[in-house]
Subunit: 583 residues, 2 copies
């Protein structure tokens, strides 16, 4: 059997409770009748469904004697032993997508398909032969229903860091071998004058290190996220799951969004060649970006996390503890607290501006202000009699802003913690600086809620210059440390890898002092621009020769289409000048 999970419909994604597929119970035959009453009810976006699956778990509205019992799950066979759709079942491919082409993404339209009563998944409840709805006597925890989904989101968070790491590896390596622009633009006597590696240009350097730092930040928070699941001992003890679920929602929304955005900027960092599929980076963002909308659209996810923040805010205001990610709300236990007085003092020096401890204080203060402000506005609306839904929607932009502040701050906290825990000093130093790059870049490129002054911004820009200059010698090492392919490989060089390191010297000022240096190959990256040996032009040229269009020359269709537009007599002359034209 090949089974798939058929939940979303053409007309329903985020609002699962609104699914339109129905499952009416027929007492006479002890069967459920699964049906798609409208086009919107067609199951859509189901992986593996269109061409491959033989069975599906169909999510449908259970209806007993006309009474709705909500969404339940029905084991449904789709195809017979000849792999033909069973009667009443229409399945197929949803059509070409932007990327992710290897996935069989299908639709399913049900026309009164009957499945036996026993095919409703019945661990927590079942329907008797007489059509009675019975909840299971087994003590259950309703939270378990979404544990799997939360775990899947945790994996997507960590994955966001991994995907971004691929792109940054390519862009960073290429930016060290790609030279463009004379070292001295005004006084270059010859076109053969030396040119600069593009990483020496400050905007390029900033963009690269910003995404590098983000990739580290996401990897660290992804590790933390998954470690939270390791701490859940059993399906019976899920007390911390709601908090984890809310954090996972916010982080899933934000990290998948930032990662996709980062991949595209790294593609742009590769200039024109980043548009070639052979670059390896061209399709990263488009193949990846479905993750920003799938498994919970990112705005929907951010707003889900916002509920948790507002709950924590209420708890703090009621004098209750708000440990973990929301600890910055504790000051609100004092109802007379003056937020303005809590603002961190401006950095007094470049060193302080580079210090993650100072930056973390800024982030926590911003989160505090953002969460408290929108909380106040919501309270005012509730007090004025505005309904919850309306008030929530009115403040949605501010809520998303608060979640963004909260998640970015929590990521910074975890990044800093991880960096501090590194024993090797040069490695710790580099990671601490990268942590500051992460923090400052998200101030420089983000509306910072009016909490950073013009002069402090100037100091932070100077800090960014210093940090990225300091990190420049470790640029390639810091991406090699991603060990791609290396998620599950050893760090020991193979014979093949050793031969590659010989020409690895193409990367300038490559500092091998960091302990994380590993020997990667190009198996996973498949990138002409991100080659470990730096031989990008050879790789681009070789890739072009393999183009499908280069198999035939003249191209197929030349005789039928192009030839008749050409003046063949003139063309016959070739690269010569006709006698009458000689000057």
């Amino acid at each position: 059997m090949i089974g798939v999970y058929a939940q979303t419909e053409l007309g329903h994604g985020s609002n699962v409770r609104g699914l339109n597929t129905t499952a009416h119970y027929d007492k006479a035959t002890q069967e459920f009748v699964l049906h798609s009453p409208s086009l919107q009810a067609i199951k859509w976006w189901v992986s593996g469904l269109g061409k491959v699956a033989t069975h599906a778990l169909v999510y449908a509205q259970l209806i007993l004697d006309g009474k709705e019992h909500g969404v339940h799950i029905f084991m449904t066979q789709l195809r017979d032993e000849h792999h033909r759709p069973l009667p009443g079942i229409e399945v197929g491919d949803v059509g070409p997508k932007l990327g992710d082409h290897a996935n069989d993404t299908g639709f399913l339209r049900l026309d009164h398909v009957r499945v036996p009563r026993e095919h409703m998944l019945s661990r927590w409840q079942h329907v008797t032969a007489d059509g009675e709805y019975v909840k299971s006597e087994r003590k259950t925890n309703p939270k378990v229903h979404y544990a799997t989904m939360v775990f899947a989101r945790g994996g997507m968070i960590k994955g966001a860091g991994g995907f971004l790491a691929r792109s940054v590896t390519i862009a960073m390596r290429y930016s060290c071998v790609r030279h463009q622009g004379f070292v001295n633009t005004k006084d270059t006597p010859s076109y053969t004058a030396p040119e600069l590696p593009v990483i020496e240009y400050r905007v390029q350097r900033y963009r690269l290190f910003k995404q590098l730092a983000l990739a580290y930040a996401i990897r660290f928070i992804g590790n933390w996220m998954l470690s939270q699941f390791a701490n859940i001992d059993s399906l019976e003890d899920l007390s911390s799951l709601p908090e984890i679920a809310a954090t996972a929602a916010g982080l899933k929304g934000l990290t998948t969004f930032l990662a996709a955005q980062g991949m595209e900027d790294l593609r742009k960092c590769c200039g024109g060649h980043g548009y070639l599929m052979a670059s390896g980076v061209a399709a990263h963002a488009v193949d990846y970006v479905w993750q920003t909308t799938a498994e919970g659209d990112y705005i929907v996810m951010m707003l889900q996390c916002a509920r948790f923040l507002m709950k924590s805010l209420r708890a703090a205001k009621a004098g209750k503890p708000t440990p973990g990610p929301c600890s910055y709300l504790t000051v609100l236990q004092n109802p007379a607290v003056d937020l303005a007085a809590l603002a961190p003092k401006p950095a007094a020096s470049l060193e302080q501006a580079c210090d993650p401890t100072h930056l973390l204080a800024l982030y926590k203060y911003r989160s505090l202000v953002a969460v408290a402000s929108v909380g106040d506005e919501l309270d005012k609306k509730f007090a004025a009699g505005v309904s919850f839904d309306e008030a929530w929607n009115d403040c949605a932009l501010e809520l998303v802003n608060a979640v963004r502040a909260h998640c970015l701050g929590f990521m910074l906290e975890m990044f800093h913690q991880e960096a501090q825990a590194i024993e090797d000093l040069p490695c710790r130093t580099a990671c601490t600086k990268l942590c500051a790059v992460y923090a400052i870049s998200n101030i420089l490129d983000d509306q910072w809620d009016g909490l950073i002054s013009h002069s402090q911004l100037h100091l932070l820009r100077l800090a960014m210059r210093k940090l990225t200059d300091d990190l420049r010698p470790d640029a390639v090492t810091l991406v090699d440390a991603f060990d791609i392919p290396g998620m599950n490989t050893t760090s020991h060089p193979t014979t093949h890898d050793i031969s590659l390191t010989i020409s690895h010297s193409r990367y300038l000022t490559h500092d091998i002092s960091l302990t994380h240096l590993v020997y990667a190959t190009d198996r996973v990256l498949q990138s002409a621009l991100g080659r470990y040996d730096g031989n990008v032009y050879e790789a681009l040229y070789e890739a072009a020769l393999k183009s499908e269009l280069n198999r035939t020359d003249p191209f197929e269709g030349y005789n039928e289409y192009l030839r008749r537009f050409l003046d063949l007599d003139m063309i016959r002359a070739g690269n010569v000048v006709l006698p009458e034209a000689r000057l």
Copy 2:
């Protein structure tokens, strides 16, 4: 003849002076020898070159008796009368790209290819038979060399608005017919309860109107840009060209970047279905985004505009006038001016926060501060003996920031001017509000250099709520006004169009009071989600049925690959429960 323009090389794009292709003159035969001395010298990214072109204008370093004379242009025949490459010429396709698949993008490698002396383009200079370099006596203006390029960039600016308009038309229409989420989330007795059009969600509404306003802003600035060329009377009078060129560079960089980013966000606004090619919007950004790096990478372009800003700054400080886009610098003619004292007063009311005049003052002040600040920093560096190149690179992030502020402000000024010029009152009111949306969105989502206070930001957020609520009834009309396809069609409905308007009522609260209402069809959009009649689910389903993968079922390869993994006996049973499993 099919001719192409062969300038960029595998190793050279932005630094045209560094092109590696050589043209050595051979006195004995009166020929130039064109050669690609390295892989990096291979011509690359040339449209039409790989499979179609018979001739090319090859940009190469002219070398006479070992002396370099810079880049010149050589008419070169590539293929013979059988469309086979001539001796010494290797041409082909550069390989698959991210998008833009209809374009024959080629490479050209030259191995000592000889062309007659007369094939060097010689309007401004020529080489004598003896190999002497002679400048033309004809009085020429060197500016004319880049007039064409500037005009091309002007077209790309206007185009950016047109491409973004396509995406926003799709996303806006779809957001009015797409319903998701119960109107009352807490008390919904049935899954059939009414749901909200997604445009009613404030974050979605904000994202849509932000991009709509940006599309209008870019279209207006594009019109202005191209009108500047209309004012140039002849190739001899090009005095204003440098200013136009600089403005075009900055606007080209910024608008192509913002448009691509906007298209992707609009794609995300379409949720999961935005990932389907049938959505029409899926591939917009990827097909378009090469424009951000081609014809001048956007950062390179922004920095080119920065030179003009710094020149204007110096002029203002020297007491000279700085008219047009840089008029805000005039205050610097007074050396004792106190910038802090010039800050516009905070908006005192919601009305003032919505007023483009107030917003324009904020933008001009931001530009003034950004330009003056980075100018001061550059001056300090020059005074300390830092070279121009180094100082410029050190300040590059701040220079790009200043250009961004300048261009966004100038776009606002032109938008406001255009809106004020509209005679029809409801139309002028709507466009003025849209102008404010453009202005405020670029404050809310941008680091505003510490010049907007926390409380002013709050007021601007309230203003945005009000503006987008006011504009909501005109949402569909404002995208229909793009008249797609309508760049060159009349606004009169055809019979077909009239039948479509019948079901056009699917769009809620559709206000037809604006005079710009036109009757568009779906010929250009080719979008299931952006259908004029709003029948998106029918269109998605029909598109899926046409999928290549749905032509055969079971799929080709089923017998060879999948069948042997299946337990056919079990599958033969179908949707029945086996007797021994009956509960």
